[in-house]
């Protein structure tokens, strides 16, 4: 269960939010110039990292506004919350340097 810090409403339970997938994916500026492979890349290919992941969330049951979250996909630790379109220096950091977290042993399950 995640506790997500909505930039407008404060920390709320995960169940109030909707997940919008990988962040920083812009619709192609000139769609008609794209070939099939480029469309496949835009539509279907995802980063899916084991580690820090930048993703979009919407506070569906609150202010209904979108924002970006950086979350560690193994520990579910939320590393930071930042606005849509946010391109501050932190976003440019290589993801490995953001946090060091230990992976739980396989089989620890619950």
């Amino acid at each position: 269960m995640l506790l997500i810090n909505c930039p407008w409403c404060g920390p709320r339970d995960e169940t109030e939010f909707g997940y919008g997938g990988e962040a920083h994916r812009a619709r192609p500026a000139d769609p008609s110039s794209l070939g099939d492979a480029e469309w496949a890349e835009f539509l279907f290919m995802r980063t899916n990292p084991k580690g820090a992941h930048r993703e979009r969330w919407v506070h569906s049951h609150g202010c209904r506004r979108w924002f970006n979250v950086e979350r560690h996909t193994v520990t579910n630790q939320i590393l930071r919350v930042y606005p849509i379109g946010g391109t501050d220096a932190v976003a440019e950091r290589p993801v490995e340097q953001v946090v060091e977290t230990k992976e739980p042993k396989q089989g620890s399950g619950s």
């Binding site: 269960m1 996909t73 992976e103």
Partner: protein
């Protein structure tokens, strides 16, 4: 490998079961390498190795598993086996798998406890009814058994179910596949491991693949925690970690990894002798041979590798269970666990050659890989051995995301994603 039989049982009973052979050899990587290395010692990987040896005569094969055999999703699912898929391509693939399951205990000389107890898929609204009837017709056209049951017939087939009209989502009927059922999931992995090992396949446990070595664009082997292992061909069958392993060869995949959790109750006397699934209220339930109810529901919406799962998903699932079976209201839940599933945009798997020479991938089974274990291994072994897909997996290539020939099976996946 000694054959399991009533005579071997009697013989070993005489020595207090102290002298059974090991089921499979636990190997170290061979210095001179292998014709084929399979990354991932789950059911699909072991089945691939078995069929490589049996169908194609390729026995110089290693299965490399970073943990213990079947310690991933093979041991973490709800053990349901069925082939009631809508589209021709999926119906043919899953039906092949179901047919292989029907003879698997005999073929492997290992009791996988396959029980064809029937799988019910419930309909709770007009949309469900129409989709269910359509699917029954589509399945019959494909020669796969399927029938439509009214609410009363559902009650007759599964007497403890609640078909009252006074609930939020009353049961309006359901589809039934009588040949579908369950099997002991660990036994499927162990049976394939034992049979593959007997045919000469090396099974290497507690060995993590850390890299895929390429020379001139061709794959030549894998880097592991036990050193470099030379390989003519490499097959990736890593389920939740498909993207991570494929990334070692700079291959991007159209999959996202999500936690999917299941749980079991305390064991009770036999109370439900079939599998009941509902996509609308969203729970699937069966009873294990030990007496536990085995239940699953949806994936967590966000991606993750943590092998857990969120509590609110369980809450939703328990609500659904009680709406279908008020009789379970005082049943206690015993334990819960999570597996990581790699979900494709069209909810169908990828069994394919890759743009990297000598590298093959079998992934994207999402929430329903267990039922496909033998069929998946059968066609993937063919793909690796011949360098081209079997007729049954020709439509499941990576190129479908470029050509647009997707096989959209979200409706048959039984899990919302």
């Amino acid at each position: 490998m000694a054959k399991y039989s009533i005579f071997s049982l009697v013989k070993n009973a005489a020595s207090h079961h102290q002298n059974w052979d090991r089921a499979w050899r636990d190997n170290r990587p061979k210095a001179d390498g292998y014709d084929v290395v399979i990354i991932g010692g789950g059911g699909h990987g072991l089945a691939t190795a078995y069929y490589l040896a049996k169908e194609h005569g390729i026995t110089n094969v290693a299965v490399i598993e970073r943990s213990w055999l079947g310690g991933g999703n093979t041991g973490r699912n709800t053990t349901i086996i069925r082939s009631n898929y809508l589209w021709d391509e999926s119906a043919a693939l899953y039906e092949k798998s179901l047919q292989l399951y029907e003879g698997l205990s005999q073929e492997l000389n290992y009791n996988i406890m396959f029980s064809q107890r029937g799988v019910l898929n419930l309909a709770h609204n007009l949309g469900d009814v129409r989709e269910g009837m359509r699917r029954v017709n589509a399945l019959r056209l494909n020669g796969i058994d399927s029938e439509w049951l009214t609410a009363e017939q559902v009650k007759e087939f599964c007497p403890i179910i609640n078909i009252s009209k006074d609930v939020r989502y009353p049961i309006m009927g359901g589809t039934l596949q009588r040949r579908a059922g369950t099997a002991r999931h660990d036994a499927v992995a162990w049976g394939f491991a034992r049979a593959a090992s007997a045919r000469g396949v090396d099974i290497i446990q507690n060995c993590e693949v850390t890299g895929i070595r390429r020379e001139n664009g061709k794959v030549v082997g894998v880097e592991t925690s036990m050193g470099f292992v030379k390989a003519g061909k490499v097959g990736i069958v890593a389920a939740g970690h498909s993207s991570v392993v494929a990334g070692m060869a700079d291959l991007r995949l159209p999959v996202e990894s999500h936690p999917l959790q299941a749980l079991v109750s305390e064991p009770v006397k036999p109370v439900i002798d079939c599998v009941v699934m509902s996509n609308t209220v969203h729970v699937y339930v069966s009873q294990s041979d030990k007496g536990e109810l085995v239940m699953g529901a949806g994936i967590d919406a966000y991606t993750g590798y943590g092998q857990r799962g969120s509590f609110h998903v369980i809450e939703h699932q328990m609500g659904a269970l009680l709406e279908l079976f008020p009789i379970f209201s005082r049943l206690r839940m015993l334990r819960q666990w999570g597996g990581i599933v790699d979900v494709c945009p069209d909810a169908s798997p990828i069994i394919s050659k890759t743009p990297v020479e000598n590298l093959f991938i079998n992934c994207g089974w999402g929430t329903g890989g267990f039922k496909a274990t033998p069929g998946s291994g059968f066609v993937f072994a063919h793909t690796i051995a011949r360098g081209e897909p079997h007729a049954l997996n020709a439509a499941f290539g990576l190129e479908r995301f470029t050509t647009g020939h997707l096989i959209d099976e979200h409706g048959a996946a039984a899990v919302a994603h």
